[in-house]
């Protein structure tokens, strides 16, 4: 568990560095907006699909990586997750984790 925490910490630093250096200051927000069609604006769902707002970053990253690997059954997310890089998944998960869950 301690090992896991350290790893996540490293990932956070990597993501934060990428965020600071990227020419798009709103990259995480902009990628996350693409999820809103089904998961609600700022990740607050209107029902039927899970809210992403306030979801733990680790949980969201883990689920997306399972979808991407095909180890988590789904109708759509297993196909969509494969379109995102690991860096994009980290960014977007961090952004949703910081949103208030209404």
């Amino acid at each position: 568990m301690r090992h896991f925490t350290v790893l996540m910490g490293t990932a956070l630093v990597v993501a934060a560095t990428a965020y600071a250096q990227t020419p798009d200051p709103n990259l995480a927000r902009n990628i996350a907006a693409g999820c809103a069609n089904c998961h609600g604006t700022n990740g607050v769902s209107q029902g039927g699909n899970p809210s992403l707002a306030g979801m733990s970053r680790q949980d969201l990253v883990a689920k997306m990586k399972e979808y991407k690997a095909g180890t988590r059954p789904a109708t759509i997310m297993n196909q969509l997750a494969k379109g995102y890089s690991d860096e994009q998944i980290e960014l977007v998960a961090g952004w949703f984790a910081a949103q208030p869950a209404k």
Binding site: P23, N26, G34, I76, Q79, L80
Partner: protein, 426 residues
């Protein structure tokens, strides 16, 4: 935006410092001002208005020009034609946008003066803009179906390819049709709005016939060589769920109709007489796009810079949704229009602030089709911007279709509608 603000940003310099400032300003949004006029409050225009407001914390002055009093969704409108939903179920008002301080003007944009940066309205007013966003949807190339090039004929042989009165009228024609009749739908050559839409409509009409008029037939007269979207899934539905009801005929390029006898005429194939003839005519970007001079591809579609959705031809004019010349494998869909609008809104805010637009946009598509009133199939895709090719490319290995129709996906389809309507309109 004020000069002071611009100088302040300039003083900060480019790159890291600005990114850091911008980063601190999110997720509440950057403080930007300016005047943006949006033409069309469908999935593209309404989403652009909402996100410009959200991401500028109401700092941008937004006016939307829309001739219709309410938003009526094209997705799910085939369920109204099939009879399992009513028009009211797919109608949403614009009060959610108004509550954000967005002005909705019920009028039609008739002309753009790009030099003076004003939009002229049918009622006579002129609206100035710093940035103009056109999301005009589609209009039809009636000259390609000469006998339909008049309002009387268009009220008889319906398209129902814009949700609203035509949707209800087509439903009424089907209700009035005696059992044993033939409903025929003519599909134009791709690209057209909503690639799987005609096939979904055939399924919905067949669903209605199977229960209410079992001796009736559905005839699909496709101008394309083959089923354009979700082929395996639709073919399975027609061969199983709707066996003996639906017949698919490829290579039927429509050249005209006989309105009185509801007869479709083709380039090479024999005439087809139907009881209810439904023609989806060839189409292009909506009328205002033509007037604005932003149609640059095949006299039909608007080419844009995919980083901002700004027209390649007319400065400070952006185009969204079905009206654009699409990148490869990028469908003309509602979901896509919503996604275009977010890339555009983010870019417009950057441009109003004198800042560079994001070089790495990513958009997705998700599209559900109803086979029955409850059972659904999907297609989805992910498109990342390619710097060298200057276009969106689908990510290798991503996206796909359903393995089979299911009621679970039906639930997801209704959840999609609920969420995208709120995301677009509130």
């Amino acid at each position: 935006m004020s000069i002071e603000r611009r100088d302040f940003l300039k003083a900060l310099g480019a790159g890291g410092a600005l990114a850091a400032v911008g980063g601190c300003a999110t997720p509440g949004g950057t403080r930007v001002s300016g005047k943006v006029v949006i033409v069309g409050a469908g999935y593209g225009g309404a989403t652009a208005a909402k996100y410009l407001s959200l991401w500028s914390n109401g700092g941008v002055d937004i006016t939307v020009i829309e001739p219709n009093a309410e938003f009526i969704s094209c997705p799910l409108s085939n369920l109204v034609i099939g009879g399992s939903k009513q028009l009211a179920d797919i109608t949403v008002g614009y009060d959610g946008l108004r509550k954000r301080g967005i002005k909705i003007v019920r009028d039609t944009a008739t002309a753009i003066d790009a030099d003076r940066r004003v939009v002229k309205l049918a009622a006579g007013a002129e609206l100035p803009y710093d940035r103009l966003i056109l999301s005009p949807g589609i209009d039809f190339l009636w000259k390609d179906v000469p006998s339909l090039d008049n309002p009387q004929a268009q009220a008889t042989v319906l398209h129902a390819w814009k949700a609203g009165p035509q949707t209800v009228a087509l439903r009424k024609q089907l209700e009035a049709m005696p059992d044993g009749g033939v409903y025929a739908i003519s599909i134009p050559k791709a690209p057209y709005r909503c690639p799987p839409g005609p096939y979904e409509r055939a399924c919905q009409v067949a669903w209605y016939f199977k229960r209410a008029k079992p001796k009736s037939k559905v005839l699909i007269l496709d101008g394309n060589e083959d089923v354009v979207s979700k082929k395996g899934l639709f073919m399975k539905a027609w061969n199983e769920e709707y066996k003996g009801i639906v017949e698919y005929r490829p290579n039927h390029v429509l050249i005209d109709v006989d309105v009185r006898t509801q007869t479709a005429k083709f380039e090479t194939q024999d005439d087809v007489r139907a009881t209810v003839l439904n023609v989806v005519p060839p189409m292009r970007a909506g009328n205002i796009a033509q007037q604005a001079g932003v149609i640059t591809a095949n006299n039909r579609w608007c080419e844009v810079d995919f980083l901002s959705f700004e027209s390649i031809k007319v400065k400070s004019v952006h185009v969204l949704g079905d009206a654009i010349q699409i990148a490869p494998a990028m469908p003309k869909s509602a979901h896509m229009a919503n996604q275009h609008a977010k890339v555009c809104a983010a870019a417009v805010l950057q441009l109003l602030a004198g800042q560079p637009v994001s070089p790495t946009p990513i958009i997705t598509n998700t599209c559900y089709s109803f086979i029955t009133d409850k059972e659904v199939v999907h297609v989805d895709s992910v498109h990342q911007y390619d710097r060298e090719k200057k276009t969106f490319l689908t990510v290798q290995g991503s996206g796909g279709v359903s393995s089979a129709m299911s009621a679970l996906e039906g639930d997801y389809a209704f959840a999609w509608a609920k969420n995208i309507w709120a995301d677009t309109l509130t």
